[in-house]
Amino acid sequence: MTDKNSDKEFKVKVGAKSRTIHVDYLARVEGEGSLYIRTKGDRVEEVQLKIFEPPRFFEAFLRGRELADAPDITARICGICPIAYQTSAVNAIENALGLNIPEYIQQLRRLIYCGEWIESHTLHVYMLHAPDFLGYPDAIQMAKDHSITVKKGLRLKKAGNEIVRLLGGREIHPINFKVGGFYQLPKKADLLKLREHLLEARDDAQETVAWVNKFNFPLLEKSYECVALSHPNEYPMARGHIASSSGLKIEVADYEKHFEEVHVERSTALHSKMKNKGSYLVGPIARYNLAQEKLSPIVKEMIRTIGFEKKCVNPFRSIIIRALEILYACDEAIRIIDAYDSEKRPACVPIVKRDATGFGASEAPRGLLYHRYHLDKNGLIQDAKITPPTSQNQKTIEEDLHDYVSGNMSMPDEELRWKCEQAIRNFDPCISCSTHFIKLQRINE
């Protein structure tokens, strides 16, 4: 969708037995990154997803700020997934304060989170990823031939916007989230008006699943270590503990005992890895592979109708899972609205400040988003740690690229470059989210 293609420098050096693919500026991903692949003979020698967007220092901004500022400051990390940042922030701070959040507030948080999934996934499916599969450089070119389809995408995104606007006060960087609940609860009558649009959106979402299911998918099979939130009754979204496909089951508070971030020279975003294991995957495929039985009946019926696999191992097919999650989010939003009867109840629970550390996580559209805060007795943030999904997926993205190029060495360079960029977009990476931190090391000589 962007015009970054025009700035792109695509270098292919063909030596006697080696070639280099270098895309100086990745298009249709958020933020500033590049791709470098070097092969020799039949082997891929080097794959680098380079992230050169300047660090944004959000964790440093948070130090010394009131705990109430955390959801509003961290929301600014991302324009498309502010609810994820707000949810993980309040989950962590409420954990530190030992708050017990009533179920009706938890359900409203899930509702606004549904709005964000609809917004974000729809943007990615229609505007950023579908052009890859249909052979267009961007969504505007695609819209010239597929106007009805792209209009459907914009209509769907608007339904997500409406949820976030109603519950959050505005669709971008909403302002109604607070530690302990919300500033204001929605009126049932307003939610019922929204419900009418969501019924249409759910139909659009079903058609979206059917549409993307017809795409031709490049072949790549991966055996991912999937990591996602897990909850006894809910498809992963706004709360839960952490689970993995190899059987890890931990509290969010133990995240840093099992996962670590390392700095690599080529990236201003830290790379995450599972301790003693290495790369892992967060996001739609991980959620689906770990928790598909928690999807609603209408989504399960759609999965049966299109014959979608029980375990997704091809990252290019993540676009189908995103579409299924859009359908789920529409359906789940309708369910929550139907059950809502709490407009006269308190919008939040009172808080008592204390010196404590808290841990929180939620499922951003792109995957697990972890926050940790240490608060002093006055409620001031002393330390903050934020691990966004794109950081966690970086190593896996590079491994996917390695495997895809290794299996397609005979592919013409231009086609291979296109497919490599498409492989990166499988993850819907948000580089701007991932580059919020850098370690400064002083060396005394």
């Binding site: 969708m1 962007t2 015009d3 970054k4 700035d7 249709r28 991903v29 958020e30 991302c78 324009g79 498309i80 943007l123 505007m127 950023l128 969504a139 505007i140 819209a143 010239k144 106007s147 792209v150 209009k151 914009l154 995104k157 608007k158 916007n161 606007r165 505005r170 669709e171 971008i172 948000c430 701007s432």
Partner: protein, 157 residues
């Protein structure tokens, strides 16, 4: 044929980005009831729906240009392409030019779409316009009042 719509686009809490809203404020009480005024911010993609429902649209927005702050241009969007944001700042939202291109692709661009682009130079967090931009708000508003469609509505009223 729908009544003319005048849209002020922007964020009044980001300095000169509030120019579009300021023009709408300047027009209040001066246009007949047939002329609709509205302020928009947020998801620019929603402009496409607005375009679909109106045949005459005036859109006022702040812009970056090489021109002096406070200078302004009147652009007929059906005749002249609107430059892309350079550099494109985000894939997480559409720019005005992308919204116009998409509306064109959908064949739902208004029969008349006029853009008033006001050059600003300070977009930091404040709710005031810079002096050069504040000085042209009234001039741009007057130019809109002088547009033929608006004058026809005024005469009818």
């Amino acid at each position: 044929m729908s009544n003319p719509l005048v849209i002020g686009l922007g964020n009044p809490f980001r300095g000169d980005d509030g120019a579009g809203w300021a023009v709408i404020d300047a027009l209040k009480g001066k246009v007949p009831a047939d002329v609709k005024l509205c302020k928009l911010s947020g998801d620019i993609a929603e402009l496409i729906d607005v375009f679909a429902n109106h045949s005459t649209v005036y859109l006022i927005d702040a812009c970056y240009t090489d021109s002096l702050s406070g200078s302004w241009q009147r652009i007929d969007a059906r005749l002249h392409p609107i430059p892309l944001d350079t550099p494109q700042t985000s894939t997480h939202g559409l720019s005005v030019s992308q919204a116009i291109d998409l509306a064109k692709a959908f064949n739902q661009l208004p029969a008349k779409l006029i853009i008033y682009a006001i050059s600003g130079d300070q977009y930091n967090m404040c709710s005031t316009l810079s002096a050069p931009v504040a000085q042209v708000i009234g001039i741009v508003a007057q130019n809109i009042l002088n547009e033929e469609d608006i004058r026809i509505c005024t005469k009818k009223a």
